[in-house]
């Protein structure tokens, strides 16, 4: 039983890491209806920029704000060059544009900082907590706990930002209806610039944590693919959904790999979340927390 809980908790904590990436998707989708496929590339870009700055002699405390500035500039430029000319295009066109953006960012990141795999040291050890092991016999990584804490903090901040500030209210208005928001005087372009900047900041946090966990390498971009089932499970436009979806996906994925994997030859982590999300969607097509859309002719 202890083993079951160990796997479960490990899964939940890794699920939090997925949520972090999913959050970036949700932010942009919520405010502009764009399904931003480039989020994974942004995570990669942020992590690579941070490591690259460290190599150039920046101290960690300076590198974080510097990377943040780079991410914000990236977001602003994206808004100006990619999104603004594509206003009012069908969603699929915007989606394709973000795939093009993905290629661009991946190329840019590797050209600026090189393609070799690097380690990223955040000063948190990825080792089991001693007192938990002593009392319950389970090993729970300190790093995972810190990651979960960071995610919780980030979600709280974002929730406050969305619900309690003027900009947050404007963001929600834009998400509801572009035209109505424009009509009451909300500056659409400014709002989008803010959202992309915030998404860049979220990508930085996710990039730091994922980079510290798996090393900063090209494979980081595939993390985005792991975040997609989280999204459909939780709903594209729900921040709590991203968290709960991440927890469900993380836990079920690890449990399936451990208990189901041996019977079918292993390696099911790659597709199990998708199939789970798919089955789930058959019963609730708008995700766990997604907004239910009523269609009229």
């Amino acid at each position: 039983m202890a083993f079951f809980f160990e796997v479960l908790i490990g899964g939940l904590l890794s699920g939090v890491m997925y949520s972090l990436v999913a959050l970036g998707f949700v932010l942009i989708y919520k405010a502009s209806g764009v399904f931003n496929f480039a989020q994974g590339a942004m995570v990669f870009f942020a992590a690579l920029t941070y490591v690259g700055l460290l190599e150039h002699g920046f101290s960690p405390w300076l590198a974080v704000p510097a990377t943040l500035v780079v991410m914000i500039v990236l977001g602003l430029v994206t808004e100006r060059i990619v999104l603004r000319p594509l206003v009012n295009q069908p969603q699929i066109t915007l989606f394709m544009a973000t795939i093009g953006l993905t290629f661009f960012i991946e190329g840019l990141a590797q050209m600026m900082w090189g393609a070799n795999v690097r380690g990223l040291e955040l000063g948190i050890q990825d080792e089991p907590l001693q007192w938990v092991t002593d009392t319950t016999g389970m090993s729970i990584s300190k790093f995972d706990l810190v990651a979960a804490g960071v995610a919780a903090l980030l979600v709280t901040l974002l929730a406050l930002f969305f619900n309690r500030t003027r900009i947050g209210r404007a963001l929600r208005a834009v998400a509801d209806d572009h035209q109505a928001a424009l009509a009451v005087g909300i500056p659409l372009q400014q709002i989008w610039a803010i959202v992309w900047s915030v998404a860049g900041a979220v990508a930085l946090v996710a990039g730091l944590l994922w980079g510290a966990r798996n090393g900063v390498q090209y494979a980081l971009t595939f993390v985005a693919l792991k975040a997609l089932p989280v999204l459909i499970l939780g709903g594209f436009d729900s921040i709590p959904g991203a968290i709960v979806g991440g927890l469900i996906i993380g836990a079920s994925e690890k449990l399936a790999e451990v208990y189901l994997g041996p019977y079918v030859g292993g390696g099911i982590e790659g597709w199990f979340p998708y199939v789970l999300a798919l089955v789930f969607l058959l019963f609730r097509p708008e995700g766990l927390f997604g907004e239910k859309i009523i269609r009229r002719i």
Partner: protein, 358 residues
């Protein structure tokens, strides 16, 4: 002036329903057919045929399949490459396990198996739509590739799922020379493109378009949603399956499941979007664009590199290509969101009016 239908009267229903009602179109098509079937095999170098033309044609077929699903029936899929993989591996098994199997029948069989898999993964489309469905089709992409790698029987227990396509022999003639392979691929693609064109003009295509434009309204006027959507998935997957079989037999020769990864799915989606959603012509234009662009880019970069002796590192070149590819896609989406097929339409209109402005 050049493209005016004045004087060409339609005097029967048959001429009205003709596939190319305008004489200029018929001449153009005839010219293209002559060039493709006679001039190119005689003139093109083997590199051009194996390196550019064969992949261009095969990917056009796959793009056509995706275009049927996405452009006509409005269901966006990211699992195209996986359906191609199903076609390739199913054809391989038909050839391997059925003695005396004709290869064309094996291709059709591969397509049919892909069609059934397509129906299976199309079932969620009855409940979910939009991006939820798009992400759900990723399940097909990952699950199918995993399945093909894990189940040894499919690849005849070779290591890591690599298969070597059997020789293509039709009626005792072995298609080994590049030109022969090219003609085989060209024939199959032409026949299937013609079928697609006719399908989309007819009853089936109209019901797909009705579903795409508004599925509730389509249901109200008596179109069976389930049948239309699943048929779109089946036909689309059939096309992709045949394209996958050709990819294995006429292009790569030795295939592993990883050749049909998500990247390929994206590339085919690009072809559809850049070429023009919901047009048969667009699939070909888009495929030409996406196939030729990396070649042109690498030629250009290398040319600049050698002429101005910039000494760009090899990795920088590949990164530059990646960036240029990404930005060109964005550029095209901004400049012409309706794709290259729309440009052709505009050009036709211009040709018609020339030399007058209106």
């Amino acid at each position: 002036m050049f493209y005016r239908e004045a004087g060409q009267f339609k005097t029967s229903y048959q001429t009205d329903a003709a596939i190319f009602p305008i004489r200029q179109d018929r001449i153009a098509i005839a010219l293209i057919v002559v060039v493709a079937f006679i001039v190119i095999p005689l003139q093109a170098t083997p590199y051009m045929i194996t390196g550019i033309l064969i992949p261009f044609l095969i990917l056009s077929l796959a793009a056509l399949g995706l275009n049927i699903l996405t452009g006509y029936a409005g269901q966006l899929s990211l699992g195209t490459a996986a359906f191609m993989a199903v076609g390739a591996f199913a054809s391989y098994n038909f050839m391997l396990r059925v003695p005396g199997m004709p290869i064309l029948l094996a291709f059709i069989g591969g397509g049919t198996v892909a069609a059934f898999v397509g129906i299976l993964f199309g079932l969620p489309s009855l409940r979910i739509r939009g991006f939820y469905l798009t992400v759900a089709t990723l399940a097909a992409q990952f699950f199918i590739l995993w399945f093909l790698t894990k189940v040894g029987w499919i690849s005849n227990y070779s290591s890591s799922g690599v298969i070597t396509a059997q020789q293509v022999v039709i009626l005792g003639y072995a298609f080994t020379a590049p030109t022969a392979k090219y003609l085989l691929v060209l024939s199959i693609v032409s026949v299937m493109a013609l079928a697609a064109k006719n399908m989309t003009r007819g009853n089936v295509g109209r019901s797909w378009m009705a579903v795409r434009d508004m599925d509730v309204a389509a249901e109200v006027i008596g179109i069976r949603l389930m049948r239309a959507k699943l048929l779109a998935f089946a036909v689309s997957s059939f096309y992709c399956g045949v394209a996958g079989a050709l990819f294995a037999y006429a292009y790569l020769g030795t295939v592993e499941p990883e050749a049909f990864n998500l990247d390929l799915s994206f590339r085919i989606l690009f072809m559809v979007i850049i070429g023009g959603v919901g047009t048969v012509l667009g699939s070909f234009l888009g495929s030409a664009f996406v196939t030729l662009l990396p070649v042109l880019l690498s030629v250009t970069v290398r040319y600049l590199d050698s002429n101005f002796s910039l000494h760009i590192a090899e990795s920088t070149i590949s990164n530059l290509e990646l960036m240029a590819f990404g930005s060109l896609i964005i550029f095209f989406l901004i400049v012409e969101p309706h794709g290259l097929a729309r440009l052709w339409q505009i050009a036709k209109e211009k040709l018609r009016l020339w030399p007058f402005p209106h």
